[in-house]
């Protein structure tokens, strides 16, 4: 409510800026005149009364500035002045202007690029059901025994597991053969991920094939899960 009142007052004062200004002028001068009159009535000569009234009122221009600030009427004009000054200065020093523009452009561009990357890779949730419950376990050295994985903390039970492994492939549609890496990925069931590939389709893996266990593997602690 007070914010609305302030906005209304500011708008009124800014729209009728010249009238606001002349009103203020008239009001302050009327005050000084009235005070001078009351001093004259006590027997002080007019010139002296006038001087005393002005003195007791205090610095007039400073008061006016404070009055303008109280209603924020100087907000728009001073903003315009600052803008105009800035533009003039830029035109005066084109080298500096170009340098600032390039710096800003590079800065904004770099920040945007980095953010897009971080947003895509780190921040955005994975398009699966309960993305915060997905964990990524891997064994850095496959020959290390599984017991070395143990950590002090009690592991959270993992309700379903899937697994992925990198398989070196030799793809040779043409000679010479090129090395490539394939990743086989086995998710126990579509219900874990609640997602389907953006292109192509999922292959259903028959239990007989070499791939991962299908169907839920309940409460297998991280310590005993090895790839």
């Amino acid at each position: 409510m007070t914010f609305l009142a302030r906005l209304r007052s500011w708008w009124r004062a800014t729209r009728h800026a010249s009238r606001t200004e002349s009103d203020m002028n008239a009001e302050l001068r009327a005050h000084i005149a009235a005070h001078a009159e009351s001093l004259i009535a006590t027997g002080i000569p007019p010139a002296e009364a006038r001087r005393r009234a002005e003195l007791e009122f205090g610095p007039l221009t400073q008061t006016m500035e404070a009055c303008r600030a109280a209603r924020a009427t100087n907000l728009l004009p001073s903003l315009m002045q600052d803008l105009a000054f800035g533009l003039r200065m830029l035109r005066k020093n084109p080298g500096f202007a170009a340098l600032s523009v390039i710096t800003l452009a590079l800065g904004i561009g770099a920040t945007t690029a980095v953010f897009s990357l971080v947003n895509g890779v780190l921040l955005r949730a994975l398009p699966y059901r309960n993305p915060d419950r997905l964990v990524y376990l891997y064994q850095p050295i496959p020959t290390l025994p599984a017991s070395r994985w143990k950590s002090g903390a009690r592991p959270t039970p993992i309700s379903t597991t899937g697994r992925a492994k990198a398989v070196p492939l030799r793809v040779s549609p043409f000679s010479p053969p090129t090395a490539a890496t394939s990743r086989s990925m086995a998710l126990p069931s579509a219900s874990t991920a609640r997602a389907s590939p953006a292109i192509s389709f999922t292959l259903s893996v028959s239990p007989r094939s070499s791939a991962a266990p299908s169907g839920p593997m309940t409460t297998a602690p991280a310590t005993t899960t090895s790839p």
Binding site: R6, R8, M24, A30, A34, H35, T63, C67, A70, R71
Partner: protein, 113 residues
């Protein structure tokens, strides 16, 4: 003439609201009214009245319109709005609590502790 006191920080707004709650006044009238009800014991820089008046009007606590003063001059009259009346009541309440507290603290004697 008794000693004049400098105005405490932040009390001018409350004084203006109180003066205007008695009747609508123009700026100079507000000054005279405050001097009158304080028995001339408050030292107010006359010019400082106007930024305060403008601020209060800006906040919607007082409203103004041009009228004619007693000596047939154009003058801007201020009056309290409903919001101003509420503000005056709550500020006066706070002020008297604070004043009472300060008085009781300052009058404490060693035997009372």
């Amino acid at each position: 003439m008794p000693d004049r006191l400098d105005l405490l920080q932040g009390t001018l707004d409350l004084l203006i609201l109180k003066a205007l709650s008695l009747s609508p006044l123009h700026g100079y009238g507000v000054l005279l009214r405050i001097q009158q009800i304080s028995s001339d014991r408050l030292e107010i820089q006359q010019g400082s009245l106007y930024p305060a008046l403008y601020r209060l009007e800006h906040q919607g606590l007082i409203a103004s319109e041009w009228g004619e003063s007693d000596n047939k001059r154009k003058a801007k009259y201020y009056r309290l709005t409903a919001a101003g009346r509420r503000q005056l009541r709550s500020e006066a309440e706070k002020w008297s609590q604070m004043a009472g507290l300060m008085a009781s603290i300052l009058s404490t004697t060693p035997e009372q502790i």
